[in-house]
Symmetry: D3
Subunit: 320 residues, 6 copies
């Protein structure tokens, strides 16, 4: 008989594991941002014939990190702007055709929406990260042995670039931009909020990419489990040390203290993919204004009870 | 090694099992409709503070079959009408709070939308059907031994009443009404299209409640399996005869020839809940204009590739 | 590596969570019993041709709560009475044709046996409870938001009526009546023992319907899980408060202190449907004479090692 | 989408695979019976204090094949005999303490009942078969490479001895003896009916040990699968030839034509442990009077709808 | 009840689906080989302290397709050569540290062994293929929309390069080289045998990468299922056409007629990862001398009964 | 959310449950060894045509406990000896044809290797233990109610005899003998090291047969679970007492203090078949020189990272 929690709620609310930032954490990201900034801000918007009135839909391509092409969707109300903006990131391995319908739903609510396909995961988002070593299946351990080579370095920088682009598109109110996402998308939204000054709000659902050390310990299944698999295949203890060092740079928990915008997050208490302790680890390190919506009976899944809160918060910050 | 089909596509396209209508099939439904018509058309709309601009959202209550209260959502654009209408039915055992966000998504696209909670399955939709016998868990075998007492008789009549109500709400264009739904909702949409002259279009996704005889044979799991369970618990052969006779009145395949409006349906070829043969059984008996979208790699699940077709068809018939 | 317990045995034996009775707990049941008593005690016994000598088998129908028809089996030795009586309740969703063979087995042992089909779950036991709201699949959340409307209010009253009827049948020794049951049947037996003065013994196997608050916490699967599902579908926190308040009236743990007859119960230490802590919660609140048989290696299943103890206890109290 | 049958019912009813008897099939069994007959018929009955009135319960020990001790239960009504007799065999790996309660249930119905524990599977039934080779886990492949050494040779002879003993116990009507059993017990009952003239009736439920060649082909799981496992572990093709030759002597299908008493059998059409084709293979080879009860919705499990038929048939043949 | 085959053996043995070669199939591979040949043959061997006497073990690095670094193991007997050579490819996603122990086992048998890590899958084998589009998780759909960009183009060329290198290492008898592998490794061995004149023998176990069209149809799970997943995520019918066209160039079935060396393959008849029909499709198209070892009771797993045959065949062709 | 450990590593390293030796533990084994010694040391070696150069392979038969025939493999380098010896025991229910290839791999590394098939589990190893009672499926509970009759008494003595034979074969260096094995084989290796003075080294991987009392508590699945199943089927508390008393004689933990040779063992921290606490229980009771290799991410499976350590340790102790 096992209680399907990782910790009781009272412990979760006070769970504050020490940060695992390396000394050069900030430097690493500064130089990454510099590298990003050296790439010219370029994008194209190709109109798409979308079956709804009142909005315009585009296929978006932009130049991401390493000069790679990153694709996605952009939609904006036909009405006179400027319109507040939403940058939406999808979950890990959870991108398929048809995601523009979600984009349309936001646009119909009055937002200019940019939806980015994570490199390699769908669309024409090209992953030109070349890992200097083999890895376990998936993207989680691609380039894992070095922060500079890790897959997510490029993804985080693509995300920062995406928010820059959103802010620069005509008709978008660059002072009213939110970052949103579920799971991996939640992790990317938080990372973007830490690495960019543009977002004034993040709304994240059961964010991934947080508190890796505990996740490796308690989540042998799911995306975090790709890390376990990598450590199974490479049993030299130095590999584990190097891998965890790399992960520390990308751990959303370590980014949390740098976030300045308002943060709303949801978490289900029986989530076994991004267990609540990993989410609270990040949340409790936030120093900004923040709010968490806790769902006792939900796991890593669509939580209908959160939608109202999410929409209201977006309206409050972006449409008020 | 089993191929995950029930039949190859070429057989499906020509699959035309004989109808199983009892002689008094039409009479049964005529008298049911008469009974429905004897109930006054009453409903109330309570405004709800919904977090989106441009639409109005209401909690809907109406008087359904047996004078029962049926609840649901209604949303309509704030702009000047009349607006085309969509009546949306949900899947079996697939109703929860938060469904009004789907309603809002349609309303934002310019439709007046009525979403009905099936009696007993959620909300304040009260199921006052009293089965004269015990049944297996769920609603599928409630009252199964007699067409007059069967749960779905009330549901089908609630559905017809719902389309009447939608057509009568101010601001709704009663000549531009579609019925839509997934799974159980697809079955209800088709039944409504057969039993009411109001709909000019049905858009159904992997409709349920079709070709029960085969479904019982090949679907021991899933909602159809509740029927198997009932027959396991009641092994008198007469029970099976009576049950199948009852089901014949509700079998969407038997209703298909009565449908006059245009029908679009989707089906995944690896659907194990509403296997393609059960869907084609109904589809191939349709005598109206019709179209089917086939998805080779999809089962009983959200099919992103169908959304565009669905939205375009709705626009074509309702917003052209 | 998880130990398949909810608590070690030493903790179980001392586990005494506080009762959760509302102030009007007793009043609620008094008025329910009054309502029951206003219904005339009516029943019919239809002889059945049963393939065994020495006993008579009948289909039983009686008037239950809300004037509903409740059905079951009754068997009695052909020999001269009066015979001690056993009232037998079945498990949740565990009723099918053929249960009269179990009834015969008791009758052949010298008992007059009444086996009641829980309303709606099988036979001609008609469930005329109409829930004022939708619920999750099954009976557990039917009418859950109000004690007066809850499904089990009617079932508990049907059970009390059943023991009244058993005591009144000719040939039955009304001073020698036991209530027995497994799982849901165990919960009903305990409730009946609390709400009626007739039983002089209860023999319950892994009783259900006990210590709901903990069950919701640790049993996301199984019948208790229907409650979790209801709370998932209705995420308003007030719903959870109301539901738990309703359940408090039906919690066998809360009824335990009112039981005056001897109680024998069994429990398997790896039971995941009615975890041992929920059973001990009720058992430890019993103030009557009592005995528990603990089976270290058994879950929620037929426990052959308990049968001898059960039969001996029945003989001791009813046939001595 | 797979239909959960092995063959449609119409094919099953006519399924008559050729027998696979070796030339010396009859000789093999004659000499086995001779060997059995050389062992003196010895048994002891130790009274047990059983908690029911009207019957006497005994622990039985008898001398089986190879002079091994075989144990079981024996119960008989206390009333004046002679009483008709039932010899009951249990399922494969399905024997545990508490089986005497089933025995009591028959005795209370007026039968003298002998329940035999298969050697090695429970109680003090000693399996002194020593396999001349290793085997896969379980008893199915013990001694499989030679008919003389195969585990079931001893079991079949124990069964024949058991029926001899039942016929010889005082108070038992040796002209009114039935053999009954489920699964392995059904196979043993049929084998006993073929190898002994004593039984006047067999009642078998989904009998095992039939049509091994097909079973190996279509049942990789379940007890037949132990044979597959043996063939996996011993890949020399000669091993498969020898194993199948051995099995032919024990195949109930091959024994069927020798049965002279009336045979009643049940089978569920979705049985995956003893698939219907294997049962019909034996049934269709029976030349005696026979009857089969088919349960469309049942697998290898308790079938409540068969109990009435079983009890009536026993009464008709034994108590009329 | 499903028979765990895709086809009966008699059908398999004659299963000869038409080749699906595009017109420029040969040209495509000629130009690919030209591109490979333009890369200088470079490799390094770093001695490793391996705990066994009589052999020398090295870490191997060589320059593969696209100038990428490919790593692996090389071992050779210390005794005077030249030694016959074995090129060993591993299964899909089945590479981890410790594989050099398998290499050592061959070397101890007198072979010079080269074990190649497929690019990206382990070690320092760098996958510098950059897919021009996103793909489903894994490598199977990386670059799938164009033969030039497909992941396996680089892998096949790496394999050809590996056999060139093995043939050029001092102490290796370049006229006695075999290619071996299991699953993906079997597919690569066959492809290498088709694309290079060096191998005089291939020994493949349940080879993968064969008869993709059928595999997509019948293998929704396993590595082939990554292709299904890609087609689920990209529902444009043109995508499926393009993907299948790409796969045709890599389909081992299409390469089979080009193989000139002797081919030994094994297949289990209950293999659900590389179903026997896909293996026989390639095998039956071979025009060289060939032999297949069929294992009735084995799936996609280590088949102990094949090892002897494998070792003998290697000795016969390489050490005779 | 459950952490897949039984205890944290820090607890494991200090876990020292009290021994459960009965007073006559040593006497029991002394008299067992005497009984073994009364059997003449007899064996035969039949040459086998094995497809590798440099070694000779034999089928071995020897006279084991109870004069039973025990079979296995023996291989030895063709080169001049004497060669150090390895006695290899296989896992529980994990023996099949083809195991001589593992034997060959050791012989090619310079060892004389004896691989013993556990009686009854494969080959011609005849299990002539006759249990005086029925048991649950498998060997774990065969004869469990008495140390003298327990299956493993014969197996332990067979193992001791095997090491005697290995030491006596010509060409084997009897002063350089190691015992090795995985799971059951690890348990047997440790027992042999305790009961014989011959081994100078044991190398065991996740040894089984250790700390039975805890294993019964926490391992309801896997081989230990056969003990649970036996206790389920025999619920008399005295049975559990007797069974645990028997097991105490065979518990490798209880043998640990008697081992004098060097011991190397491996354990995976997520092993659910032989949980780490059961392995550490034995390891921490060793008084000899010892070493443990801990694998955080591995369960009960092949651990590639341990092979190097194993081979080096064997070389160090046997080939230095």
């Amino acid at each position: 008989m096992n209680q399907p929690y990782d910790m009781p709620l009272s412990e979760l609310e006070n769970y504050l594991p020490p940060l695992t930032r390396e000394k050069d954490f900030s430097k690493f990201w500064e130089s990454s941002l510099e590298e990003l900034n050296s790439i010219p801000l370029e994008y194209s918007l190709d109109p798409v014939d979308y079956p709804a009135k009142g909005i315009k839909m585009y296929k978006l391509s932009f130049k991401g990190f390493n000069n790679s092409n990153i694709s996605g969707w952009f939609a904006i109300p036909e009405s006179q702007g400027p319109h507040p903006g939403i940058l939406h990131f999808h979950g890990y391995n959870w991108a398929f055709d048809g995601r523009h319908h979600d984009v349309a739903n936001y646009a119909l609510r009055g937002y200019a929406v940019l939806f980015m396909f994570c490199r390699g995961q769908q669309g024409e988002s090209i992953d030109n990260v070349v890992s200097p070593h083999g890895h376990s299946i998936g993207w989680m351990s691609k380039g894992l042995l070095s922060p500079e080579k890790y897959y997510y370095r490029a993804v985080y920088m693509d995300a920062v670039r995406a928010v820059n682009i959103l802010a620069s598109i005509e008709g978008v109110n660059k002072d009213k931009i939110a970052v949103v996402g579920e799971s991996q998308g939640g992790g990317l939204a938080l990372a973007t909020a830490a690495l960019s000054q543009i977002p004034i709000l993040s709304v994240t659902e059961y964010p991934f990419l947080s508190h890796f050390n505990r996740a490796i310990d308690i989540c042998p299944e799911g995306p975090y489990g790709e890390l376990n698999e990598f450590l199974r295949r490479n049993s030299d203890p130095q590999i584990e040390i190097d891998a965890k060092r790399t992960l520390s740079y990308f751990d959303v928990m370590n980014h949390a203290p740098d976030i300045k915008c308002h943060c709303l997050t949801s978490i289900g208490l029986v989530d076994q993919i991004t267990p609540p302790s990993t989410v609270f680890a990040a949340f409790n390190h936030l120093k900004c204004t923040k709010e968490v919506s806790i769902f006792r009976y939900f796991g890593h899944e669509y939580i209908p009870g959160f939608v109202d809160k999410k929409l209201r918060t977006l309206m409050e910050f972006l449409q008020a």
